[in-house]
């Protein structure tokens, strides 16, 4: 929990709890104040409780499938001109890194004696993980999901429903992740005495950005051991896609104090940075408050949140977690953009070269790596790319959006012999 207190720029010299430099804080309606204090206290005591940590570790191993492998991707490496290692979070239970955080927060929910969890979800991966943990722990579960995202991630809607969650399609605003978070916040304000808001990304009011980082840190802790054993030494860089930033902060956390390792976050640039249709918050945004914390946000001059755009529902968000804003502004992290087209290229090449169908979110990182990685990192650089999820949920939408003729119509036409 050490980085919850970092020095603040400007007049104040004393560190402020819940801040990363000038970013973070707790900008929420007063009715949530008690719940945030309760959560911070619950985590503080749990993090020092050996029984809690043992249970978390057991669940991660025996239920969640950890540790996930570190895999040397030879053919991607050859194409990229780099030495590419994939951290296989796509092989974790539920198909992404999201369960790392969810299991921890579900244990905290039980510890706080709350019978219900709510969650927001974009691509549906966090919603599926939350519904999974709710089933495991016998909690009531409601998941808010933008109506547009329900459409493009239909598979995950059905998964959540099968797991017993109520999925609420959100029709307000842009009908995507931002609006799902608004609705979840409204639910939480209303039901705060019985409900834990199980935030899935490293965003939101303190203590969420720190809590989510600590629960996702297992990714980089495993990476370090595995890389040392399998490759030797330290990687030159760790690369991860960034929406709100939970997989990236998990992949970065254990390396932050290791300056030899470059931390590269890949944001979704949609139709291009500056096109007006992008989710590249750190490239295009400005300092503002969104969803409970001060960070970098896509807002206009009047403080209205601008709609984000990305082919990926999981990255289609106009904000970013406050620690990423701090890593970007301090220069410790480097944040780049991958367009929709880069992501589709990364998606296709990962399928073709490695036999791995990636989620569209990490496909942004792969696409950026293939097209720009060598320029930034140098020939033959050794890096770990966090393969944060698998792409089963995306196959229909990707084929539709990309317009690839992979033979879907031939396979499903009424008379195959015709």
């Amino acid at each position: 929990m050490s980085a919850t207190t970092t020095p603040v720029d400007g007049a104040q010299d004393e560190p402020r709890e819940g801040y990363f430099g000038p970013f973070g804080g707790q900008f929420v309606p007063e009715s949530l104040s008690g719940a945030l204090t309760e959560l911070a206290d619950a985590w503080r005591t749990a993090a020092e409780d050996a029984a809690f940590l043992d249970e978390l570790d057991q669940l991660r191993r025996t239920y969640g499938g950890r540790p996930t492998p570190l895999y040397r991707a030879e053919r991607l490496s050859a194409e990229a001109g780099l030495e590419v290692w994939l951290k296989r979070e796509d092989l974790a239970h539920t198909g992404s890194h999201k369960l790392n955080n969810v299991v921890g927060q579900a244990l905290l929910t039980r510890r706080m004696g709350k019978p219900r969890v709510i969650a927001e979800t974009g691509a549906g991966q966090h919603g599926v993980a939350t519904a999974t943990a709710a089933a495991l722990f016998g909690l009531d579960c409601t998941v808010y999901m933008g109506a547009e995202d329900c459409r493009r991630q239909r598979l995950n809607v059905v998964r959540m429903q099968l797991l017993g969650a109520e999925v609420v399609p959100v029709e307000s605003g842009t009908r995507t992740l931002k609006d799902a978070i608004n609705e979840a916040m409204r639910d939480w304000v209303t039901n705060v005495d019985t409900t834990h808001y199980l935030i899935g990304s490293a965003m939101g009011p303190h203590p969420f950005p720190t809590l989510v980082r600590e629960l996702q840190k297992v990714i980089s802790v495993e990476m370090r051991t595995q890389f040392a054993a399998q490759a030797g030494g330290l990687p030159d860089a760790v690369v991860a896609c960034v929406g709100g930033g939970s997989n990236a902060i998990g992949a970065f956390a254990d390396w932050i104090d290791e300056p030899a390792v470059r931390l590269i976050g890949v944001e979704a640039a949609g139709e291009g940075v500056g096109s007006g249709r992008s989710a590249a918050t750190l490239s295009e945004g400005r300092e503002a408050v969104l969803h409970g914390s001060r960070s970098i946000v896509l807002v206009d001059d009047e403080g209205q949140v601008r709609p984000a755009h990305s082919v990926s529902a999981g990255l289609d968000y106009p904000g970013v977690g406050p620690e990423h804003a701090w890593l970007a502004s301090s220069g410790r992290g480097e944040y780049v953009g991958a367009t929709d087209d880069d992501a589709l290229h990364g998606f296709r090449r990962t399928c073709e070269l490695e036999g791995i169908i990636p989620a569209l979110e990490p496909a942004h990182a792969v696409g950026w790596l293939l097209r720009h990685g060598r320029d930034l990192l140098g020939d033959g650089a050794r890096l770990i790319l966090n393969m944060s999820g698998r792409g089963d949920k995306d196959v229909d939408e990707v084929v539709r959006v990309a317009g690839w003729d992979v033979g879907v119509e031939r396979a499903f036409r009424a008379d195959p012999s015709a």
Binding site: Q26, E30, S31, N182, R186, V189, D193, V289, G303
Partner: protein, 268 residues
């Protein structure tokens, strides 16, 4: 005279008349600037003691569907902050009642606290409510507000811990906004028992008036609240009246509801 003094005077006047003060919220620019101006005027003429001018935000997490829709209508029509403040300035130019801006911290912060405070003052406003700015995050804003003589009204909740109520009671100027229920605006009615207890906890801490909002929807709920609070805040019900028919008739509908609510504020 500071904004806090003008607001205090309005609460004192109502109290002297044996009433809780009636605080009326309307979204600036809704459904269009002209109608909005006329509705604000109508609310004042019909007996509002204090006016809250809502400045729309794209992501209002404390608001239910009615105020969300009003905010979105104004933003979709391209009516920006300057024009919203001009509506308030024109409608309230007579200065009969104090008025405060109600918006979210992102709006004030993006403009820059100092400039936003100056703009509010220039529009004739007396204070500001930012429901997602807790006292602990408010030092910079309060300095900017104080420089313009603006009161900052803070919200208090039945689930606020004692030390938070201490901070709220100390920081809040004009009045303290006691939240009438756990929830967002315009959905459920005031939860009387915890709200009354909250008002009493605040009274034990400060002489600043305590007004109850969120969940006051009609004369009957206003009457219930007036029995134990210094003020009654109504918002979504007014916007429903605005939306419930043609825009030309909106000021009359607002006036009728305000008159009815005001009758409800008279203490038994």
């Amino acid at each position: 005279m500071s904004g806090a003094d003008r607001i205090a005077a309005a609460f004192a006047r109502a109290d002297g008349e044996g009433r809780a003060a009636l605080v009326v919220y309307l979204t600036a620019g809704y459904p269009d600037p002209d109608t909005s101006r006329a509705c604000l005027r109508a609310a004042v003429d019909a007996g509002a003691d204090v006016v809250e001018v809502g400045l729309p935000f794209s992501d209002p997490i404390m608001d239910g569907p009615v105020i969300q829709a009003a905010n979105q209508t104004v933003l979709d029509a391209g009516v920006g902050l300057e024009e919203q403040l001009a509506v308030a300035r024109d409608a309230l130019a007579g200065g009969e009642v104090p008025a405060v801006a109600m918006t979210y911290v992102t709006v004030a912060d993006t403009r820059g606290y100092a400039r936003f405070a100056a703009d509010c003052r220039a529009a004739g406003l007396d204070g500001v409510i930012l429901p997602d700015l807790p006292v602990g995050e408010s030092a910079a804003w309060r300095a900017a507000a104080a420089a313009e003589g603006l009161a900052t009204v803070f919200l208090a909740s039945s689930v606020s811990a004692d030390e938070r109520l201490d901070a709220i009671a100390t920081a809040s100027a004009g009045w303290i906004y006691a939240i009438g229920l756990l929830g967002v605006t315009g959905v459920d009615a005031v939860d009387a028992t915890p709200t009354r207890a909250l008002v009493e906890r605040l009274r034990a801490r400060t002489a600043t008036p305590v007004a109850v909002g969120i969940g006051v929807r009609d004369r009957a709920t206003a009457q219930d609240v007036a029995a134990y609070a210094d003020g009654v805040i109504v918002g979504s019900a007014l916007l429903r009246a605005v939306a419930d028919g043609d825009p030309a008739g909106a000021p009359d509908r607002v006036a009728a509801l305000v008159a009815d609510l005001r009758a409800g504020t008279v203490r038994p």
